[in-house]
Amino acid sequence: MTDQAHTGATRTIRPQGYWVGVARDGQKMGFWFILPTFLLLLFIVIFPFFMQLYLSVTWWTPLEGIPWYSAWEVFSWFDNYLTLATDPRLWGALWRTALIMIVAVPAQFFLGMALAYLFIDQFPGRKLFYSILLTPMMIVPAVVGLMFFLLFQGTGPVNAHLGLPADFSWLTDVNRAMISVIIADIWQWTPLMFLILLAGMLGVPSDQLLAARLLGGSNWQNFVKIILPRMKTVIIIALVLRTVECFKIFDLIYIMTKGGPGVQTETISVFLYKQTFGDLEWSYVAAIGLTILIVLSVIAAKGLAYMARKQG
């Protein structure tokens, strides 16, 4: 509450007497009510972070025979961070993750966009085709992995239909293994892109499209000048969603190739899994995890700042 009538200056009118006490009591009570949740949140967020930070500056693995909180006995300063900076396998895994994102996400986007455009208008069997198109994304990724594992066997249906010999290997060939994985990812997640983009397209006001048509606009002009600009937010959401999911890709690859042959399809998630549960290098994984968290946080902060600037 402010009072500018007499002095011209802003003055805050504060509650007085009895009401001050009530407000104070209310604040205190509120504080006590939220304290358990606040502490729980603090524990959930802060504790793992500091645990990770602590482990990352040690050489601790479960094989040390000491509990994690005694990891200081094998303190190693920044050795894990130095190792990760020069670990070709980690950088290779990051590069392959990026490669999948670079190829799969745009492919899913363009296919999803084309399909969504086809589905704007009504046509016979639209609902049936719509349901069929959405099926892949309903399947558990591990099952999709198994399906494509079987499809891409040398003696499997893909080679049989393409007339390729049984020794034309997909999953154990250095180059084709990655192609197989990307195909499987595109197959499974194009429907999600289609769904989001179709929702965006259907949200474009039909009167605008109609008006444009009456004024002689071609389909392409309508698409570029009216539909796309109005779908900007939806497109950003769809791309961000798929990019983040692609970064985490695991099940599909683990089932299809286990990251092989060698490490040719090893992405960052598969690499971290192998390091954690295979090599038991928990302190090294802590260092990698923390580094990724910091890098992604910086990128996200920059992105948010950029968007804020754009919005004026």
């Binding site: 050489w59 479960p62 094989l63 040390e64 025979g65 000491i66 509990p67 994690w68 594992f149 066997q153 040398g154 003696t155 049984a166 020794d167 034309f168 290997s169 999953l171 154990t172 060939d173 250095v174 190739t257 286990k258 092989g260 042959p261 060698g262 490490v263 040719q264 192998k274 549960f277 295979g278 090599d279 038991l280 290098e281």
Partner: protein, 486 residues
Amino acid sequence: MPAERFQYNNTMSEGRAIEGIKALQAAGNAPAKISMLLTDGAIGQITNPFPEGAPSAKEVWERETGIEIDIIGAPAEDIFKKVMQDVTTGGGTFDIYTGPWNSTGDLVSSGGAVNCSDFVAKYQPDWGAPERGTTTPENEKLLYTYAGDYYSFSLDGDYQTWFYLKGLYEDPRVQEAFLTETGAELKTPDTWEEVDRISKFFTGKDFGNGPMYGNGNLMSPFWGLATFYARFASMDFPNFFFFNEDGSPNLNSELGLQCAEEHVRSFEWSPPDALTFTWAEAYATMWNLQIPHTAIYTNLVKFGDGFNPDGTPKSKATGMIGSHLPVGRRFGDQINRRSVLYYSITAWISSQSKHPEAVYLFLQWLSSTRTYTWMAGNPGGYFDPFQQANFKEPLVAQSYQPYSMETIPATIARSVPSINFAGQTALDNALDEELQAAITGQKSVRDAMDAAQGKWEKIIKRQARNGIVEAIQASRATWPTLVDPA
């Protein structure tokens, strides 16, 4: 009567275990329940009544002692992850862990397993009994000890054993074609050189069952290491160790490189999808008559030779399979035939168990030669025979075929341990990735083995404070010295 062959009294290993439990119960030191984390595929051998009309092993134990056995299943590939989770979180969920024998070093080093040397001295299990136990004293050390102390309880016999399509080898058409092409008579191989010659011959040939691939050995990530280790062990006389006495690896030594070259070359004769095979797909290639021979787990014949209860053959290979001794290399007038122990379900007592002595007694009872022979004959799971008594048992012979009853123990006596030191998974993974890189042409054999050597050196340096060098030295005593005349 089968039951009589499995009966015991208190002068026998099983009887001592039961007496021990009763003494603990009288003193109020026995639990009401023992929990066991066990690979899914093996549970049936403990819980399924066998043979018809008889109880299960679990029922007998519970009836004799009143202590319930609670078995929690887990997939074989994931089980050791669950073990390590329990160890590191201090969960204390299980009294008994099971997992691959190779993980013994990792578990001991993490402090997750109980040292049972005192219990062994007190209750005298018959694991190494001359007529009934392990085939050699070295084999007892290999299966039950780590760095000189007793930690593990062997519940499996994963010794890579050679099987071949006897029916095909004896086919006159095949013999003639082999003679014409190679100038030699077709017989079961004694050496790796002969294995490779046979593999090369069969690749692409069709003897009425579709095109064949000569090399049936496991070549895929993880499983293929067994093939590599077996070949590696025979590179020198009587053994070629993976490590020198000082703990330095031999991977990029002259013989190590030669072994890797041979291993990589043998992939030319493998089925097209061999790099994606687990043992299950590899079994199928023999059952479908696509390969002439393979060194693999012994239950290949348990599940693929013989007849189902309804009288149908278990596979196309029924009646065609035979078995032979492991192969090696000729050194003068001798051959060092070598195989390898790889995976093999093994039990350990959790260091978080509140009743380690009682748990020990259960495991002694379960792994002693009478109970284990009874379980090994049970077709309900993956526990394979490995004790001498197992191979004299008709029920085991019925499952694993009479032709295996001599070759499996002979293979065991000639088997070397694969890696089981602290850091084993890291060591195996490092070598595996490099071998796969060489097989798929991403790296030359030299580069791959140099890289693997470097990784192993790094891991050993890092694990030195956990006693890996001492474990390597102790492990050398578990390698066989048995050689055969050429």
